[in-house]
Structures are given as structure tokens and as C-alpha cells.
Symmetry: C2
Subunit: 199 residues, 2 copies
DNA sequence: CAATCGTTTCAATCTTTTCTGAAACAATGC
DNA sequence: GCATTGTTTCAGAAAAGATTGAAACGATTG
């Protein structure tokens, strides 16, 4: 009898479906500014469901140790993969968060922190760069219009921030509730429009 | 007297603020899977507010004609920049949508079409890849769990799709209303939690 | 209708990002 | 404490992606 694998060999069809999923998820990555490999590693851990060690990931995705290690670390930092151990094994294992909503809450939280917060800070700075001019009477039309544009962005991203806090916070009911709510809002809007004969 | 420029020279501070904005907006691009230049062109058109022709853009951003042309075309395809003409000039001019909410509605609409729709299609295909196996009694635990995961994703992205339709549709009140609504929801949730003494 | 002005395209080049692999670095057990 | 097993780091290699520039194309005008 060969050694017992920790992950029993999946049926061929299942294995193929997993591969396909990994590939599809990897494709998406580019469009969202994430490295393809990192997305693939995540996809693999998610779709397999079981904890996997670095070597498992390397073998299945045909990537180098260094790459696997860095991708796994990054995923842990994003909070969508966690380290585990399996009884009687010294290796570190990794498993993906399995709740899709929790997963995206983590992603949104992290992206807000990394991208929107700094953006808001920059926008405030940019606003200040011309604040002085406008106080000194040099408040010509161009300057006023500029401020209005920056303010528009600030307003928008502040709303996004608030919105995301609603999603992310705290026990995670947020997003789900919100989605339901909004889809109802949408229906309502649609029917109101129907009454008024709008397209 | 030198020739009258179509865009009157902005004050140095304004010009600097514009440059800074272009640069900040360009930085963001990478994180969202958009080329830096395309984001910069968009930033420039947005922050200047006035229509600009290809040469204006080339000069201000120091990019090649080809690059400017392709970026502008892409922005037009995204629906956030439109072509215009100025009286007595044969050149084509481009101007950015100025309403921030309308801008992001266009972006969301486009990204849904380009990314979420195909993803949903792929997920359905992936689900089908193993449907046969499970009908033939080979419905072991692994297969069932796999289906559950795919279904979780399908549910999630369908919600996102519905949600985005609420945002995008129709006269644009959508997103604004939604944001307000959600921020209220958030307050409500927070205060309810306060009563119960949750963190 | 040909000259001029403007736009688009795309192969070649350049830049940036990602990936590899081997060496340095833990941690554990004997 | 040292040997073994496992993990991280990082300089250089490879791949992916963006940019250029010049030629082809199109449209307007005299």
C-alpha cells in the first residue's frame, strides 16, 4: 500500500474543475492589480478546501519555492489565508477562508486601507496646495472650478469609505444585509419607473 | 502679443496641483489593473476640465502620439471621456465627464461587463464539469463540498451584479441613494451593537 | 484631385513586474 | 550542540506589459 496522502486523490473531473477554477481566478487577477500567481494560490487553497503545505502548492501549480512562499505570506497578510498545522507534521500548512463574504470583507478592508485612505490624504494635500491663492483674492473662476472638482472626488471617496465600513464592520452581516436591501431598492426604483413609463 | 492659448495659462500653484493630481491618480492605476498612462490622461482631462486635443495631452504628459491616441480611444470606450470639437478648429478635442458619480457609474458598468459577467459564465461552466459525476451516485463528500464552494461564489457575484445594477441604473440617483442609505444602516447597526455591549 | 492636416496602427523597443533558485536563516529533535 | 527539516530572502533571469515612432490611412480644403 502506498503512503496515505493527506489529500485523497480527487476524481479526475473534480481535479479538472479545480484546475479550471484556478486558471479563471488567475485571469481575473491582472484586471485587479494582483499578481496572477498570488491569485492562483488563493484559488487553489479555496477550491481544495483542505490545508496545504508549501510543497503541495508548488507541485500543483508548478511554481518555485520562493514564489510559493511569498504568495502565501502575502495572502496571510491580506487575511484571507491562515496558517495551520496538522497533527504529527512539522510543516506549516495553509488554509483559505471558506466563507466567500468574509473573504471579500477582508479584501475590501485591506484595499481601503492601502488605497483609498492614502488617496484621501493626497486629495486633501492637493486641495491645500491652492488654498492660499484662493484666500488672497486670487479666487478666479479656474481656481474655484478646480476646488469644486477636488471636492467632488473627496465627497465620493468619503462615501465609498463609509460604505465600505458598513460592509466590513463588524460581524459581517453588513454586506449581506446591504446587498439584499439594495436589490429591493432597485426593484422599487424599477417599478416606480415603470409607473412613470421611463425606459 | 503671442497667440491666444485656448487654455489660459493657469497660475503656477494651480498647475502644480494639477500635476500632483495626475501623478496621484496615475499611481492608483497599477493597483486596479489599468495602465498608468491611461489613468494619467484621464486625470489630466478631468482636473483641467476644458477639452484638450491630442497634442495638448502629449505635451503636458510628455508621451508619444501613439500612446496618447490609444489612451484617449480607450477612455472614450470606457465612456468617461467624450470627443468634442471647438469652433473653427479641425482637430478633435476630448473632455472628461465632470460628474464624479457619473464617472464611477460608467466604470462600474464597464468592469461588470468585462469581468464579472464572464466570471459568472465560467463559474457556471465549472459547476457543470462535475455535475455529471454527482448525478451518478458518485456524490462523495469532496464533490458536494466543491459544489458548495462554487455555489457560494455564484451567490456572491450574483449579489454584486444586482448591487451594481442598482448603482448604475438609470438616472444615477442609484449610487447616491444607496450610499446614504447604507451609511444610515451602518449607524443603526452600530447603535444596536452599542446597546448589546458588543465591540 | 492633390496637398495638407490630423488620426490610427503596430512591430520593435524599453520598462516594469514577476519568478526563480540557491544561500541564509529558523526551529525542532536527538 | 549539531543535524535535520522546513522557511524566508533576494539578486539576477525571464516574462509580461507599456511605449514609441514612423508609416498607413482618412478627411477636409482650396
Amino acid at each position: 500500500m502506498p503512503e496515505v496522502p493527506s489529500n485523497p486523490a480527487p476524481s479526475p473531473a473534480l481535479s479538472a474543475a479545480q484546475d479550471r477554477f484556478v486558471s479563471v481566478w488567475g485571469q481575473m487577477a491582472g484586471a485587479w492589480g494582483i499578481s496572477r500567481t498570488m491569485a492562483e494560490v488563493h484559488a487553489l487553497l479555496f477550491i481544495v478546501g483542505e490545508p496545504m503545505c508549501t510543497d503541495d502548492v508548488m507541485d500543483r501549480l508548478q511554481i518555485s519555492r520562493g514564489n510559493a512562499s511569498m504568495s502565501l505570506r502575502a495572502l496571510v497578510e491580506w487575511g484571507i489565508v491562515s496558517r495551520t498545522h496538522v497533527r504529527g507534521d512539522r510543516k506549516e500548512y495553509f488554509k483559505s477562508e471558506q466563507d466567500v463574504w468574509a473573504m471579500f470583507r477582508a479584501i475590501v478592508r485591506e484595499r481601503m486601507k492601502r488605497e483609498v485612505d492614502p488617496l484621501l490624504a493626497s486629495l486633501h494635500e492637493i486641495r491645500d496646495m491652492t488654498a492660499r491663492d484662493s484666500k488672497r483674492g486670487r479666487d478666479d473662476a479656474a481656481l474655484a472650478a478646480h476646488h469644486k472638482r477636488i471636492d467632488g472626488l473627496l465627497e465620493f471617496f468619503s462615501s465609498v469609505e463609509r460604505l465600505s465600513q458598513g460592509f466590513v464592520s463588524p460581524a459581517g452581516r453588513g454586506l449581506r444585509v446591504a446587498a439584499t436591501l439594495l436589490s429591493k431598492l432597485h426593484e422599487a426604483t424599477a417599478s416606480r419607473m415603470g409607473e412613470r413609463g421611463e425606459r
